[in-house]
């Protein structure tokens, strides 16, 4: 089987969705670690120099563009699979079992993923676009240093809007529900199902990626809003 055929099979496509999903899981970890600096009361010194470093380091910029391609790949292939899955059952059942045979989270992957994709587009337009191509005021923390873009203040200002904060919380609920099933599901797709590790994989998927990380992300706009 050629590579092109291999990755055109249902399992091949799922492997691509799983691999990109794992990459995105590692991204949310790094992204949250960086974003926590938005909660520092240092006038944005730590966060802004971090943002300047991330925005100028060429290796990170390369990964950042790769990340956008990965998000698109993940979404396009998953949607493709979703549509072919819908086609596999042209006549629906009159009665469905609901949660009797599968978890609610496992059946909402496409919907939660779509919520996330819309969120990511709004999020990028809001801050990434502004940071790179918009007008962000600069700030100089040291007399001799280079002035850096004050993304910190832009964020603090943006999250005074209640509707934007609500949107971010909804986006993170989407992330939570997506990862509660998605993390462990990717392991299963890669064939990594083993009685000695399933418990740990499930625990990390639900508690770290499904609950702790989304709460961490959602806390940032909420805390800024009430500050």
């Amino acid at each position: 089987m050629k590579w092109s055929q291999f990755f055109d099979t249902s399992i091949g496509k799922k492997l691509l969705v799983g691999a990109t999903g794992f990459f995105l899981c590692s991204f949310v970890l790094v992204h949250l670690a960086g974003n926590v600096q938005l909660l520092y009361n240092d006038g944005g010194k730590a966060f802004n120099s971090y943002a300047a470093f991330m925005g100028h380091n060429s290796l990170i910029q390369f990964i950042a563009w790769g990340l956008k391609i990965v998000i698109l790949l993940h979404a396009i292939i998953a949607l493709q699979l979703t549509f072919s899955n819908r086609k596999a059952r042209p006549v629906k059942y009159a009665i469905n079992p609901g949660n009797q045979t599968s978890s609610w989270f496992s059946r909402q992957m496409a919907i939660m993923g779509s919520i996330l994709l819309i969120f990511i587009i709004i999020h990028l337009a809001d801050f990434w676009w502004k940071f790179h191509f918009g007008n962000v005021p600069t700030i100089n923390y040291e007399a001799t240093g280079e002035p850096v873009k004050d993304l910190y203040s832009t964020v603090q200002f943006a999250f005074k809007e209640g509707w934007l904060v609500a949107l971010y919380v909804i986006g993170m609920i989407g992330l939570s529900f997506h990862l509660i099933h998605g993390f462990k599901s990717a392991f299963q797709t890669f064939g990594l199902n083993h009685v000695k590790y399933n418990g740990l994989i499930n625990f990390i998927g639900v508690w770290l990626f499904g609950i702790l990380i989304p709460i961490g992300f959602a806390a940032i706009p909420v805390v800024i809003f009430f500050k």
Binding site: F6, I11, R89
Partner: protein, 249 residues
Amino acid sequence: MGLTLKVWRQKNTKAQGGFETYQVKDISSEMSFLEMFDVLNERLINEGKEPIAFDHDCREGICGMCSMHINGRAHGPWAGTTTCQLHMRAFKDGDTITVEPWRAEAFPVLKDLTVDRGAFDRIIEAGGYISVNTGNAVDANAIPIPKDKADAAFAAAACIGCGACVAACKNSSAMLFVSAKVSQLAQLPQGEPERATRALNMVAQMDKEGFGSCTNTGACEAECPKEISLSNIARLNREFIRAGFTYEK
């Protein structure tokens, strides 16, 4: 007990189907679900009406022919049970029971509750076997196999190909079936020579038949009358990855 049955009736594959409602009386709680249909069909025949077509053969839970989606559940509400082994004590007097055929693009309805599961046969033909010379049966213990391996292979081989996994899956995915058929051979030395082509060809055929892909919801495992484990799907994925990355053709 008396029951109201809403049964899917469809003349043939191309015809538009619909639900018909039937009242059945004096059903014993010790009857099987299919025996209840026998009672109804006898009455329909006596009334000069077309009996309800449904698949059945052994009626002891091993042939995999019976295929009814009962109140939203493949093979009805009992776990690890085929429709023929589902007994009427699972229901209460006065219940309304909705019975539908398996719903999948790859399982076209032939008539009423009967579907064509030929897609499964074609997947098996694509590689779900081992090539051996015919002749006298080989000594069963010629190749020593550890008990746990033999048990695991046997657990996968318990699949009766009834199609409940496809029926229960929201994507009409046949992954549990294919994984059982790959796993019963992948764990035994006899399966080794055709290991790569088996995984590649069976998956390719599965896709060609129009089954959906697996989203790991676990509905198949929950509904499987033979309680085939999801770990077999992980094994199929491993077999497929291994073959795809290492097989030269």
